[in-house]
Amino acid sequence: MNIMIGLINGMIAAATPILLAALGGTLTYYAGIFNIAMEGMMLSGAFFAVLGSYFFHSWIVGILFGVLGAILIALIFIFFSIFLKVDEFVTGVGLNLFAVGLTTYLLRQIFNVKGAFTDPGIVPIPKIQIPMIQNIPVLGKILSGQNLIVYIALIAVIFITWLVFKTRFGLRLRAAGYNSTCLDTSGVSSNLIRFHSLMLCGILCGFAGSFLSLGYVTLFTENMSAGRGWISLAAVILVSGNPLGIALVSLLFGFADGLGLFLQQSLPSQFTSMVPYVATLIALFIYSIRKKKKEALI
């Protein structure tokens, strides 16, 4: 039983950063921006979260710095892609590489270490015990006692769904992606909408990065986002930006990761390392079959 609970908690922990970054990615997806900079935003967020938490001895400042760190990358993206109209793909690749270099450089300059920075002075983001619920036998250990950011991610799913589909901003956001000229001629600047979507994406990626470096582990290692931003991009494309779908896909990725480690009890590790990728391929396959059927109906 402990093992099952461990697997589920592992799944939630692995899914959270992917989910948050993917929710950011879905906003830019609807706004018609080909945004691949989530990886860089997340990494920058993770670094600045540790920086804030270490120097101000507070996880709240840590999250704040993490969000600002991710917004920094988002602002550069905005400057190049919206203001200067540079190709979004090239900008994104450049920024992802820039984030690796920037955080590595700052790590060496500010903390005077290479590779990893760990210190008892870094204050982690607390876990939340929910009164009543934590006493339920099995579910209590899953529903309660998660990191604060996990609950924020859950709220973010609902909030983003509401924002995209139920608000005037959401309507304009989708219009910016669907037909930006039409939006511009109706008197709303599509560039302004895109600016907002990227800023929101930065905030969400900042939370994702903070979770990585102050939530699950309390340290920063070079390139610690380790491809999670790319996986979040895959999640967005896989479900065409549907927030609930993103939540499910993120959980699937998180589960596959933990399952891969778990299966090493009985399978060679070279095979189990494939599990997350095989899961992605299967998900892609099922998705495209479903889409084809839908198109056939129309």
Partner: protein, 341 residues
């Protein structure tokens, strides 16, 4: 048109002059020896590579060597140019050559007058100029296994359950990691043959989150102590032991005080000491190229250390490790050496 031709000529001349001055042999004002520490990974692991760097800095301070470190950052494309650069620049090259043994052989054959010291694995080139330092990691990992086995069977230590299960997290499947795991199991079985050892491989040397997840799974299975053999990713293992109030064993350098009260011991592999020892032989002109130097417990280049572990272990465990250590050094206890298939 004429102007353009002139410009072309001038630039050609400039290029020739500049490159000639750049490549002309540098005037050697002093006979300072130059040493390069060339590693396949990156510094900053608080462990393996960093201990080598400490040894290089000792050589700089004590022997006045001109030292440089080249980090390849696990980028295979960097191996060959780095080797070329090192061979071109230095007199002595200390190299950790996982993954580019063949290139090392080739370069060493081309520069027979240079001293190549290969650390941690055995590499032999056709001209027999490379000296290899082979750490007998089995001896210290055996002791780590002894520590783990005695911890998991001693339920008087806080939070230890009755299950005879211990864990280990490896970075990836490679001969050095497997040698560690092999001897760790042997050490545990030496104490109690019923002890089960669960292994997890990460397939990664840097993903701390994944290392933590693997460790939490091992604790969920009932293990109470986990040995990390995963370089920088291993920080996740140590943090997991702190979170659960359980125990871990550090690797390569003394990591006992990283998570105070939860890292029971560290299995050190002192690359720096090996570098210093080899350099001493070079300095005393007793250095023999093409030899294999085996550094085990007797040389203290590998060992299990308890300093800084907040005295969480009962004295019986430390005494047992001390007596086994002297048995291994004296030869009374033979440790099996891992043979890669």
């Amino acid at each position: 048109m004429k102007n353009r031709k002139l410009l072309f000529l001038i630039s050609i001349v400039l290029i020739v002059v500049i490159s000639a001055s750049a490549f002309s042999p540098v005037h050697k004002a002093d006979a300072k020896k130059r040493a390069v520490y060339l590693i396949n990974g990156s510094l900053g692991d608080n462990a393996f590579y960093d201990s080598g760097q400490a040894g290089m800095e000792y050589l700089r301070d004590q022997y006045g060597l001109d030292i440089r470190t080249i980090e390849c950052g696990f980028d295979a494309g960097q191996y060959e140019p780095s080797l070329e650069a090192a061979a071109g620049y230095a007199d002595i090259i200390f190299v950790i050559s996982y993954g580019f043994e063949d290139q090392l052989k080739e370069i060493a054959d081309r520069f027979p007058e240079k001293i190549f010291v290969n650390l941690d694995t055995i590499v032999e080139n056709s001209q027999k100029t490379i000296t290899s330092v082979d750490f007998i990691e089995e001896e210290s990992a055996f002791l780590a296994g002894v520590v783990a086995a005695m911890v998991t069977t001693d339920t008087t230590i806080p939070n230890i359950n009755a299950d005879k299960l211990i864990g280990v997290v490896g970075g990836d499947v490679d001969p050095v990691v497997d040698a560690f795991l092999f001897a760790y199991e042997n050490g545990a079985h030496y104490i109690d043959p019923e002890i089960k050892v669960e292994r997890k491989y990460l397939g990664d040397w840097e993903d701390t989150a994944k290392a933590k997840q693997a460790t939490l799974q091992l604790y969920d299975l009932g293990a109470d102590i986990v040995f990390q053999v995963a370089a920088a990713a291993g920080m996740g293992v140590l943090q997991a032991s702190g979170d659960r109030g359980l125990y871990s064993i550090g690797v390569d350098t003394n990591q006992n005080n990283i998570i105070p009260g939860h890292v029971a011991a560290s299995d050190i592999k002192d690359v720096g000491m090996a570098i210093i020892n080899v350099y001493k032989t070079i300095d005393e002109k007793t250095y023999v190229p093409g030899t294999i130097l085996s550094y085990g417990l007797a040389t203290k280049a590998v060992d299990v250390v308890f300093e800084g572990n907040s005295d969480i272990l009962p004295k019986a465990i430390i005494d047992k490790v001390d007596s086994l250590r002297s048995d291994i050094i004296s030869g009374a206890l033979k440790i099996d050496i891992y043979q890669a298939e």
